[in-house]
């Protein structure tokens, strides 16, 4: 059984077709990157996967649950992190994690918080107000929130946006290790090509709400005759220099 199945998914906002007939599936334990320029439909797709947006047409099934009919059963086994959705700033880090521990029905919340804080290296910050943290520290806390319920499916929207290279590398290394240990399925939307190349076994490239290409990073590099995914991204975004074998 696939962890995520997206079938003929469409979303329009009035005249604008944001997502246009998306079809893909993600296997359990797989990490798939969602690549695309601004307005390609990545965030809209993730919002539909999370049940925040109702599709205009098409179906989504996550962990065997139809998101139109039984989204809460799936949501309990999923989680999400995005730098564009904040945690309450006045609460301490521990309080925020406690809130989400309760919302996701986590057993042994205090032990879970202590473990995850140690793993992500912010034990000393547990009693600090979330609003006082640096961008890098906030990203670690947001990641901890996303992992508080040991999700089977993790949706990450630009998890390292606005991080310095050191913090970004820490998060990417940690995600690699976590995936290997937990077998978690990850869908990652990112503009950072190095990140996608490093973390993702497969990449879906979106443009104008459609998947215009897909494959492993190595397959895409070979297909476009490029040395890095950034050039592949530009080839697709600008419809330029395509050297795709016949």
């Amino acid at each position: 059984m696939h962890a995520i199945v997206v079938d003929r998914l469409c979303k329009s906002f009035g005249e604008i077709l944001a997502v246009n007939g998306l079809d893909f599936s993600v296997d359990p334990g797989e990490t798939v990157g969602l690549l695309g320029g601004n307005g390609a439909g990545k965030t809209t797709t993730i919002a539909m996967l999370l049940g925040l947006l109702i599709p205009t047409s098409g179906n989504i099934s996550i962990l065997g649950h139809d998101m139109a009919r039984a989204r809460f059963a799936a949501l309990a086994r999923m989680n999400f992190s995005s730098p564009y959705v904040a945690l309450p700033q006045k609460l301490t880090v521990a309080e925020n994690l406690r809130v989400y521990g309760h919302l996701y029905g986590v057993r042994g919340i205090e032990e879970r918080i202590a473990t995850i804080a140690e793993q992500l290296g912010f034990t000393a910050m547990l009693k600090r107000a979330t609003g006082e943290l640096s961008a890098g520290q906030k990203t670690r806390v947001a990641l901890a929130k996303a992992l508080i319920n040991r999700p089977d499916v993790l949706l990450l929207d630009e998890p390292t946006a606005s991080l310095d290279p050191d913090s970004g590398d820490f998060v990417r290394s940690w995600l690699e290790r976590y995936r290997a240990e937990s077998g978690c399925t990850i869908l990652l939307a990112s503009h950072n090509m190095l990140e996608v190349e490093r973390l993702c076994g497969r990449v879906l490239v979106m443009k104008h709400g459609r998947i215009v290409d897909h494959g492993s990073p190595a397959q895409l590099l070979a297909k476009y005759g490029r040395d890095d995914l950034e050039e592949v991204f530009l080839d697709i975004a600008r419809d330029r220099n395509r050297r795709i074998p016949a």
Partner: protein, 267 residues
């Protein structure tokens, strides 16, 4: 209610309780307006009562009782709407709505917080009315609890309407959280009987549970009896309004999920 639902409701309540623990201005604000309003109206009522004899004494009780009970409606409405707005202001709604928290659990949380906020706001004013003016709201007996419950229910469905409008129009509609119930004050006959209103306004007044509560309050002060008929009508009207506004909420919640407003609402 399942254990899971109780934990989720407690989880979101805990988030708000910690917010109040860390923000004394928020805590102070809860009791500030009810206490100030009670002091001003108490002095005004005592001034008139001293000049109009025994009738003035009854009017003093009606006025001060009306002020304190109306604060219950105001604070319960604001308590629910502002707790929702706290999630909007902190850009936390996205996280809340992708958790397994059901919409009805969110509403149950907001109502529970509303009870706590109302108690924290109104009880100090009730105690101060007793200390300053020797006015005991509970001297009317258990009927006060029925009045209070009806006014709290009214605050909740008005708030549900406000939240529905915030879901549709975003944070631009947040001013309604403070103002909407004040607009209903003239029709609620808090300080005067419904009969002094113009004909068309009386029609509006009788559609509101609050006007029946305050007519009942005045009857209780004058006759000393329990105005059950007014209480039953108020409860029935609350039920009808809950159905109407609940349908509006469900429609707007679905529309917000269709338009993507749950993510954009704080923008």
């Amino acid at each position: 209610m399942t254990n899971g639902a109780v934990r989720r409701i407690w989880g979101l309540m805990y988030r708000h309780l910690m917010l109040y623990k860390r923000s004394w201005p928020r805590l102070l604000e809860l009791a500030y307006w009810p206490t100030l309003t009670m002091c001003i109206w108490g002095l005004t009522a005592r001034f008139f009562a001293a000049r109009t004899g025994s009738a003035g004494t009854v009017a003093f009780g009606m006025l001060l009782g009306g002020v304190l009970l109306w604060e219950i409606a105001l604070r319960s409405q604001m308590g629910m709407a502002i707790s929702f707005l706290e999630e909007v202001w902190s850009r936390n709604l996205g996280h809340v709505f992708v958790s397994p928290l059901r919409p009805w659990e969110l509403l149950a949380t907001l109502m529970s917080l509303s009870v706590l906020r109302t108690a924290a706001g109104v009880l100090p004013a009730v105690a101060l009315a007793w200390a300053l003016y020797a006015f005991n709201l509970f001297s009317l007996g258990p009927v006060v609890a029925l009045f209070a419950a009806n006014l709290m229910l009214m605050g909740w469905w008005v708030s549900l309407g406000v939240i529905s409008l915030i879901l549709r129009h975003g944070a631009g509609a947040e001013a309604l959280a403070w103002s909407v119930l004040f607009a209903l004050t003239p029709f609620s006959a808090v300080y005067y009987p419904v009969s002094v209103l113009p004909g068309w306004a009386q029609t509006v007044a009788w559609l509101l549970p609050s006007s029946h509560v305050f007519e009942g309050l005045r009857a209780a002060f004058v006759d000393g009896g329990v105005p059950y008929s007014q209480i039953v009508v108020a409860a029935a009207l609350n039920g009808v309004w809950f159905v109407v506004v609940g349908a509006l909420f469900l429609r707007e919640f679905r529309a917000a999920r269709e338009r993507g407003n749950l993510l954009l609402i704080g923008e």
